[in-house]
Symmetry: D2
Subunit: 163 residues, 4 copies
């Protein structure tokens, strides 16, 4: 039971290639920085620009997808929640961190740095078969797979959905 809603929706570009680690249980934990920039006019009419750098974390299957498809520069839609943490650094000082825990991701148009032009994305299913088993350096090769195992959320394993 959740008491409250903690929802974040981001659209931006990655500032770095995602970095992936694995837990002892073998779960992928992928992290990347995502920039969102807003612009406003100040009183003198000058354009004021400000960029927020969000630390986004992708767990599990989503972490594997992010590792495989996202690269520095990728434009991406991320939906998730905010998580605040506190820890004591080696210098004995308390530090605070804020992370966006992604629970949905979708790659958007555009291309990663050094990547292939967008029409290379979405190649036929055959490229999907021929993909390397392990993500490697270089540009992403095709469009992102689903961010969630089930786009309909609830218990749609039951297939007698009336539509």
């Amino acid at each position: 039971m959740a008491r409250g809603i903690n929802k974040v929706i981001l659209v931006g570009n990655l500032g770095n290639d995602p970095e992936t680690k694995y837990t002892q249980g073998g779960m992928a934990v992928t992290k990347a920085s995502l920039a969102t920039t807003s612009v406003r006019k100040d009183r003198e009419g000058n354009t004021q620009e400000r960029t927020e750098w969000h630390r986004v974390t992708f767990f599990g299957k989503l972490g594997e997808i992010a590792a495989e498809y996202l690269r520095k520069g990728s434009q991406v839609y991320v939906e998730g929640s905010i998580r605040y943490d506190k820890y004591t650094g080696q210098d004995g000082v308390e530090k605070y961190t804020t992370d966006i825990i992604a629970d949905e991701m979708q790659m958007l148009g555009g291309r990663a740095e050094g990547g292939a032009p967008k029409r290379e994305f979405g190649g036929g299913g055959e490229s999907r078969q021929s993909r390397p088993a392990q993500p490697q350096g270089g540009a992403p090769r095709r469009e992102a797979a689903p961010a969630k195992s089930n786009d309909f959320g609830t218990d749609f394993a039951d297939d007698d959905i009336p539509f």
Copy 2:
């Protein structure tokens, strides 16, 4: 793989008690109308008010929870997607419907019409233990249970999450 985002977030009050049917496979399909009202000033400075009535559908476990806890007047948060359908009526005319397919729901403060005050809101766990095992007619008796089986979205069956 989803291609696109179709997300709706509603906060409003139900205009009727939810109605539940079951599919042949035994899945609950609960429907209710939810009102959201917006207000603006027109050019003459008069307040113009407008209410949208959203047809919300809850499937599966969420449908059972909605049936148990929601009543006419309930204030509720709903997250879902928009679904457009077309069918031919008995008069041979094509009809169009729009539904909000909920994939998350959360009851908010306030009380259903004729319902008991939500004094157990935030109260101790004891009232939670004394709830009847089966939903019965009348007002909802306790806070909404989870809208999703897993608030963390991904594959957190794996318990070695590093937090």
Copy 3:
């Protein structure tokens, strides 16, 4: 005073070039259809795909921006609200429509049909000066201008914001 929240977030591609009309007061009203597709596996493991076509309406300055920058095929982020309307057709039959009233829009990567590659977007400010007064057929020429007059929402005409 709004009573309730009625919020829609869409990311998808336009199925047609936007169409713009003007009110007697000179306000632009631009409409376009936006597709979002979701995919799920049915019980037999077959991929089931479903596309929703959202009718999106952009008013005022946003309508002018949409008319200038969006084209068939454009990938776009839209934030707005749902509006249900009812009218009586010339055949005397009541009809129902559902529209998404946009209040924020942002062009995403990718390109419109027949359009130039994305790096043509974002041309310098000079192209902004030389743009035709009226949108014409063909590809959009630069990245979308702001969807809202003020990205900070509140009364930031006051410039003594402490950041």
Copy 4:
């Protein structure tokens, strides 16, 4: 022109009475902490609960409304964006803060600590007329006023909207 989307949607309860300061220009800056709690089952089937405390900042007119209507315990919907800041403390150590900059707020059912029941929720307009002209200490007395000056977002000062 914004480049990216940075959107946060929160529903939760305030952990403290809001605190308001004014800029030299006279703009209200109101801050409060808002809790959202999520729950999940761990591998042993134990319920794991976790609360995030969001620091929410309301500027301008919204800051005045928040100061007048919100109290410790208030249940509230907040929409805004995430803002990360860095500063050097008096101890010479760099500190990082994360704030949610609200651009829309709506009070939800429920009541503030020590406050009166929200029985006027949905009640007649008369209690609305009898409200004190100036906010005073104690519990909020009526439903939240609008979070935004204009619920329709765009340039609806122009009143020839075709609906």
